[in-house]
């Protein structure tokens, strides 16, 4: 994928519940390669590429991003905010944000006795440059959402941007729909509302009734100073998820992915994520149960404005996904 397209996918506005803009960007990118493209009632973007086997695979990557929502505007024009998804308050202070209409803001915190590390969401405010409530209300209303102003930085093989979770995997699906050959019906689903409880993926899986679900998301790493023990490092390949807070991947699905990787000579790591859930859990739990697994891209500093991954892992994640889609036999429990 060319850098400009990747940057567009990463920096288009789309906090949870407001995914229409990123949905339309992704729709334009996948439409030429799909037999059918539609949005469901919740807003999930679904691109279907038909096969001949009669089996259905649902792929998913979430297009929503974490953000801040305006809960009040004070008389001096400062915005008070609450989190949309798992935003870390201390890590938000000192960063620029942007609203859907392009309004920019600076996030800072109440400078009383507290150090920034003790800051809670209630202590944050957003300065949009307004000098009064009235002036602020010309630009922003209570309920509007802002996101970190995505700064896209290529650093050698590595990439830093606030939206790697999970736009990097949206990019992987866009690339896969162009490259993958599969005899199965493959549903490329860009889900909504993952960050507030995996809400889009379950709805999509209910309607699709897939024989196999494969989600793509970011995962933590254990390769930074004083990290908690975790056997995932940047640059060592995408991961095959074993479990996270939302799912324990069936061993048969893991074997399916690991065999695909081994046969295609793609490096991979096994991932046990200590905290955090993924769409995989919601897909697995749909109707009478769906065999579901997850390919992840190791990412440092998740849910901060400087999420960082390795593009070689991204490329291998696309290859691994394509290798899975090319397999005739799908795993059963």
């Amino acid at each position: 994928m060319d850098t400009k397209t990747l940057e567009t996918i990463l920096t288009t506005y789309g906090p949870t519940g407001h995914e229409d803009r990123i949905s339309s960007v992704l729709r334009d990118l996948v439409a030429p390669y799909a037999d059918e493209v539609y949005n469901d009632k919740l807003g999930n973007l679904i691109a279907l590429k038909r096969g001949v086997s009669g089996k259905k695979i649902m792929l998913s990557a979430h297009m929503d991003q974490i953000g801040l929502v305006v809960v009040a505007i004070d008389e001096k024009g400062f915005l008070r905010v609450a989190n949309v998804g798992g935003v870390n308050a201390p890590l938000s202070a000192g960063h620029q944000v942007v609203f859907e209409n392009g309004t920019r803001g600076a996030v800072y915190f109440e400078r009383n006795e507290k150090g920034v590390g003790e800051v809670k969401m209630n202590n944050l405010f957003v300065d949009i440059g307004a000098e009064s409530r009235e002036e602020a209300e010309q630009l922003v209303n209570v309920g509007d959402m802002c996101v970190f102003a995505g700064r896209f930085a290529l650093m050698g093989n590595r990439l830093s941007c606030s939206t790697l979770d999970d736009r990097i995997c949206c990019a992987a699906l866009v690339e896969a729909i162009q490259k993958a050959r599969s005899e199965h019906d493959v549903y490329y689903v860009f889900t909504v509302q993952e960050e507030v409880g995996l809400r889009g993926a379950g709805t999509a899986a209910y309607a699709i009734e897939p024989d196999l679900g494969i989600s793509l998301d970011v995962t933590g790493t254990g390769d930074v100073p004083e990290a908690l023990p975790m056997a995932v490092e940047l640059g060592k390949g995408p991961t095959v998820k074993v479990m996270d807070s939302s799912v324990i991947v069936p061993p048969a699905v893991r074997r399916f992915m690991e065999n695909a990787a081994a046969e295609a000579g793609i490096p991979f790591q096994r991932e046990v994520l200590r905290g955090g859930g993924t769409d995989t859990g919601a897909v697995q739990r749909t109707r009478g149960g769906v065999p579901a697994g997850c390919i992840s891209i190791g990412t440092r500093y998740i849910h901060s404005p400087v999420e960082t991954c390795d593009m070689r892992d991204y490329e291998n994640a696309v290859k691994l996904l394509c290798a899975c889609l090319e397999r005739k036999e799908l795993p059963i429990a």
Binding site: P229, Q284, G288
Partner: protein
Amino acid sequence: MDVFEALSAMTTAPGVTGNEARVSEVVRGYFRAYTDDISVDAVGNTYARIGETGPTLLVMAHMDEVGMMVTCIEDNGMLRVRSVAGVDPRVLPGSEVTVHGKREIRAVIGAKPPHLQDSGDEKKAYTADDLVCDTGLSADEVNALVGVGDNVTFRLEPPMKLKNSIVAGKTFDDRACVAVMLEAMDILKSRRLNCRVVFCGSVQEESGGLGASAGGYNVKPDLAVAIDVCHAPTPGTKPFDTVEMDRVSVTTGANIHPKVFDMIKASAEEQNIPWETDVAIGATGTDAWSLQPLLGGIPCGLISLPLRYMHTSVEVISLDTLRNCAKVIAGVAANLGADWEEKLCLDD
């Protein structure tokens, strides 16, 4: 049926939450004595069906056990582990465990000895990050045999018999209740049924009930009874949190359909089985909780077997009470027939 033998076979089969294939195989082996109608669904729930006509009663006990998983292999070959669901790190130091790598490997869980701890640490319990799983193997041997994501269970030892039908062992939560289902099938084999009974060994109860929600959807029962363990009194517990070891616990509360409660109570009383009402105001933390809201609502009941020291390798139960649980659930099935809708109706 030799219930101790079945319990031994089932508790020595590994089946950590999310990886229940081996215990499922053992359970299917026991199911086969009572029916040919056996199946496994997409998530691993294991079913046995008896009875041909009438309403469908789903009886569910979970097969999965609390256990651990390898998260990381240290350079020296020590394994770092985390709980998959429900293992309390405070009970782990000094435990004998089995690592389920390319083969089964015996290991122990160790921690920094008290002599070397910083002052003040002696008052704190060990957390998972303080613990290591030590196989005694070299780093090379460990890397050849064990991978991240492999399960670790309490050592696969058969239960031990204490006095008065009391037994102690691993994984009675909830394999003892799978044994209840087997005993119930044994009782029902000589009875003529006016209902269909689907016995289900469910998966992933300990991680939030994936098996129950998939199983309820697949079976579409008219009513369901979950069988699980509850807490028996030990020093320091409160009476309203516990049920005596010799009584069958029958739950009432928001998770339970009042008429299913009545059916269970009637079955116990008809057979003069000692039972006790357990009150659960909200969530019961069992498969009944996951089953209840499915498909427009499933009337649910819950029978529990009292157990001491839950989620350890020395869970303690009474085999007599286990058998009584089986009689109660068998009685519910035997009493169920064409008038089931009237019996469930709340307008009286």
